[in-house]
Each structure stands twice: as structure tokens, then as C-alpha cells.
Amino acid sequence: LNALANLAELTSLNQERRLIEAAQSDPSRFAELYENNFHRVYAFVSRRVSSRDEAQDVTAEVFHQALRNLGRFQWRGVPFAAWLLRIAANALADRWQRAARGVEVPAEEAEIENDAGHTDAAEVERRAMLFQLVDRLPADQRLVIQRRFVEQKSIREIAQELGRSEGAVKQLQFRALETLRGQIRSGHE
């Protein structure tokens, strides 16, 4: 089983290498690398900033930088995500330094800068999977999750917007979370 897992990982890395080389020669191919890594970068960043807006800003900055510097990327057998998370860690460190000039960066945050590729990688993967899975929920469940947690609306407001009863919305909310939990469990098993 380990050999199979290693083989799958090797195949995945080879595919990623080809994608990177393709994007280096044709920047329009960067979209595939973006699709594969968006939730990972966002999950990494969102855990370390205080607001959704800031998380989105940093994520956008990471991918813009990555696109601009893709030509200088050299393949060393490390997943592309590690390079992106390194960019993200540097971007966060820059932000903290700009926001608090002269204020010492907290030790926990400094750790990101030093070892972005390996710190809480599993947690990042789990959160990335969670965010990705939301996109795959049935439309009505996804809508309830977005309204409830992103727009922070009450059940009553969502029910009025969707023209459904509050009980029905609560039920959709419950089912959506239950679906996500089940898929995360199966993903980790």
C-alpha cells in the first residue's frame, strides 16, 4: 500500500511538473495550477488573518506574485503548493511588519515565516478540503451555507429570501454540515 501511495504521489508530482513547465512557457496555462491550489492557499492565509477581506487580499497577492515569478521557479521535487505557501508566508510577514512598525512579530507568526511549508500542513489540507467541498454541495445547501456563514444572515432572513420556512432552512443547514463532515471523514480515511 505504501508503494502504491508513493507511486500515486510520484505520478501527481510529475503531472504538476508538466503543468508548471507548460505555464512557464504559456502563462495562460497557469489557470490549472491556480485551480489545484486556490483553496490550499486560502485556507493557509485565512487562518492567520483577522478578516475575510484580508484573507482574500493576501490570497490574490500570492497568486499574482506567483504568476509574475513563475519563470524563476525551479523544480526541485517539492510540491508547487509549498512554493505558494512560502510566498503567502512572506506576504503575511510583510503585512505584519507594515501594520506594526517596530512591533515584534509574535513567535507563533514568525514560525510561519521560517517553516511555512511544514507548519500545520495537515490542518491546511483539511481546511482546504472543507472549503472545496462547499463548492460541491447541492445548490440549495450551498446557498444556505453561504448566506449563513459568509453573509452572516439569520435563519429567518434566509427563509424570507428563499421563500421557504425557517424549519426547512434549518434542515438544509443541518444536512449541508452533515454532508461536509461525512466527506471530510471519507477523505481522510
Binding site: 487562518r47 434549518k170 443547514q173
Partner: protein
């Protein structure tokens, strides 16, 4: 616990979690059941979910950046099939504007607008600079005076006579040209042995429009046979003088003395002076301004019964274009006409235009 209570319990736990600050450990006391607590914990992570359109918008930004362009949020929303109804167009595109923006196009557009503004501005400056500058230190004054014919001081009905002591009356023909001075009176049978040739004229405003034929004569005569008339003095008629007509004098018509043309009066003797009601001042000519010429231009004008000026003659010239400037202005003048017995009549008068430099 029925399923209904699980939904409520989860929702209460979520409300509790949402009330806590982001990334804080929520108490989740409302979730008694372990499975509900687990779902509430999962829900707390969903508070960090990105906005619905963020991923697609960023994707489009990257695609456009890869193609060397900038992109707008609205375009990204269009691509993702969603629409932000609160979005308003903006000039610079980035901030939720309605159109994709090429930076080069924007720069070109800005440059073109700048050139247009400069061209329009330059037009104003050039037109302004070519307009004649009116020097306020120069002043033109105008004086209106009654016209006094060179000979005679009475109301002018024009007229004259003369003749060569012939047996028959003056013959029919065109009236001679009017002039300020008479060098030679009109005669039909000129002296062929003359040494100095001069055109026959009568004394009257020179530019009066008169019917002309090849043969000069008295227009009121019925005789076709050439004759200067029985009078004396060199004119054509039965009395004394160098004019053409029935009475003595040097003019033309049935009146006496100089002048012509029944119906044009001189001011005085019951004929009022016309009053200018529209009289724009003449301008200085460029030549006169350069040479600092100043003085008076005297015009002889007929002011018609309709108040318009006619038959303008420069009686005293100043030159350097000032005569023309005076004529040009006086032609546009309008008068309240002179009156005789309460009726408007045409009169002749002098208009003196003073050009002064201060």
C-alpha cells in the same frame, strides 16, 4: 430527541458560535449532543469561507494578467454567471467598474483628450490674438451739421438754367453728371476748337444716381432737336447760369440756384434736423493708428424720409483709411427723419467724424 430538535439545537449552537469573535473558542453550550457539537465546530471553520465570487474573480484577473491586461470585478462576475447589482461603473476599472480596461487604451484615450483640449484652447487664444485690439486711449467723436450748399442758402429744390441764346428751347437729353464744382457748363454743341477738355457737369451732390443717355440735355424738355436753349451763361435753358432747367442757376431742375432733385431739402426754414437713433462709432484704421493720424472727416449725406443714409460723399478727407472707416460706420446709421410740416422728408446734412488720439 427527534430530528426537529437536532436542527434547532444545531442552529442555537451556530448562533452561539457566530456571536463569538472569529477564531475564538466558542463555548457551544447549546450543543448537548456530541454529533451536533461536532457539526457546530465544523460550522465555525466555515466562517472563514471566501465570498462566492472571489475565486472566479481572481481567476479572471490572473487570466487577464497573463494576457497582459487588467481586469475588472464585474467582468469576473459576468464570467461566473453572477451579477452584483450594487456595482457602479468607475473610471479606473478596478473598483467594481463595468468594463475591462486595457491600460494602453486608457493612456491613449487620456492623451487624445489632452490634445483635443489643448487644440480647442489654442484656438481660443489664436482667435483672441488676431482680433483687433481697441485702444481705449483713442476716441472718435461725431458731429452732425446741416448741409449748406456751396451756393445759395435757401431751401434747395435744385435747379438752374442757362443757354446759348438760341431760338428754340433746350433739347431733351440726360442730365449732366453732378459735381461739387463746375468746370464747364453743359452744352450740346461744344466748341470744337477748345484746348482743354472737361466733362460738362452741374453743381449737385456728385454721386446722385441720375439717368444717363449718350446725349446730355434737359430731361424735362420735349424737343429732340439739339439746342442749348435761348438763355445765356453756358448752360441749357431759358434763363441765366450754367445749369439745366427753366430758372436761373447752376443746378438741375425747376428750382433755382445750385442743387437738384426736387424733394431733398436743406435743414432750416421749417425743416427739422434729423436725429440719430443708431450711430455706432467708426473705428480707427490700423494705418492711422500706426502713424498716429488724427483729425476730421467731413461727410455729406442724404438722410432719407425712412431715416436711412444715402449718397454719402467725403467732403473733407483725412486718408489712411479713416475716410473708409467713417463711411463704413455712417452707412449703418439710422435717423429719426427730418420733418417738414409734420411729414418726414429727405434732407442733406454734413456729418463730421473726429478721430482723436489721446
Amino acid at each position: 430527541m427527534n430530528s426537529r430538535s437536532i436542527y434547532d439545537e444545531l442552529d442555537q449552537a451556530i448562533d452561539q458560535m457566530m456571536a463569538a469573535p472569529p477564531h475564538a473558542e466558542a463555548a457551544l453550550d447549546a450543543a448537548e449532543e456530541a454529533s451536533v457539537r461536532e457539526l457546530a465546530e465544523l460550522a465555525s471553520e466555515l466562517r472563514d469561507l471566501p465570498r462566492e465570487n472571489f475565486k472566479s474573480r481572481l481567476m479572471l484577473e490572473l487570466e487577464w494578467e497573463a494576457a497582459g491586461r487588467a481586469v475588472t470585478a464585474d467582468a469576473a462576475e459576468k464570467k461566473s454567471g453572477r451579477r452584483n447589482t450594487e456595482a457602479l461603473p468607475g473610471l479606473f476599472g478596478k473598483a467594481w467598474s463595468g468594463y475591462p480596461v486595457r491600460r494602453s487604451n486608457f493612456a491613449l484615450s487620456a492623451a487624445l483628450h489632452a490634445v483635443m483640449v489643448l487644440a480647442i484652447g489654442a484656438g481660443f487664444v489664436m482667435v483672441k490674438s488676431t482680433l483687433p485690439r481697441v485702444d481705449r486711449s483713442k476716441e472718435v467723436s461725431v458731429e452732425l451739421l446741416p448741409y449748406f450748399p456751396p451756393i445759395g442758402t435757401k431751401q434747395s429744390h435744385g435747379g438752374g438754367s442757362g443757354g446759348a441764346a438760341e431760338k428754340i428751347l433746350a433739347s431733351k437729353g440726360a442730365a449732366p453728371r453732378a459735381a461739387q464744382e463746375q468746370l464747364t457748363p453743359p452744352i450740346i454743341l461744344p466748341n470744337t476748337s477748345r484746348k482743354l477738355v472737361a466733362e460738362a457737369t452741374v453743381i449737385a451732390p456728385p454721386d446722385m444716381s441720375l439717368p444717363r443717355t449718350r446725349q446730355i440735355g434737359d430731361p424735362l424738355s420735349d424737343l429732340a432737336q439739339p439746342s442749348n436753349g435761348p438763355g445765356v451763361g453756358g448752360g441749357m435753358g431759358g434763363k441765366v447760369g450754367g445749369g439745366v432747367g427753366a430758372n436761373s442757376g447752376f443746378g438741375r431742375g425747376h428750382g433755382s440756384e445750385a442743387g437738384c432733385c426736387d424733394g431733398v431739402y436743406t435743414i432750416g426754414n421749417g425743416v427739422s434736423m434729423p436725429r440719430a437713433i443708431y450711430a455706432p462709432e467708426p473705428e480707427f484704421s490700423e494705418e492711422a493708428r500706426r502713424t498716429k493720424l488724427q483729425g476730421e472727416v467731413t461727410l455729406l449725406a442724404t438722410i432719407g424720409a425712412d431715416g436711412k443714409t444715402r449718397n454719402l460723399i467725403v467732403e473733407r478727407s483725412l486718408g489712411m483709411g479713416l475716410d473708409e472707416k467713417a463711411l463704413e460706420a455712417v452707412r449703418t446709421w439710422r435717423f429719426e427723419p427730418a420733418k417738414k410740416d409734420g411729414h418726414p422728408v429727405a434732407v442733406q446734412m454734413n456729418i463730421i467724424v473726429n478721430f482723436h488720439l489721446y
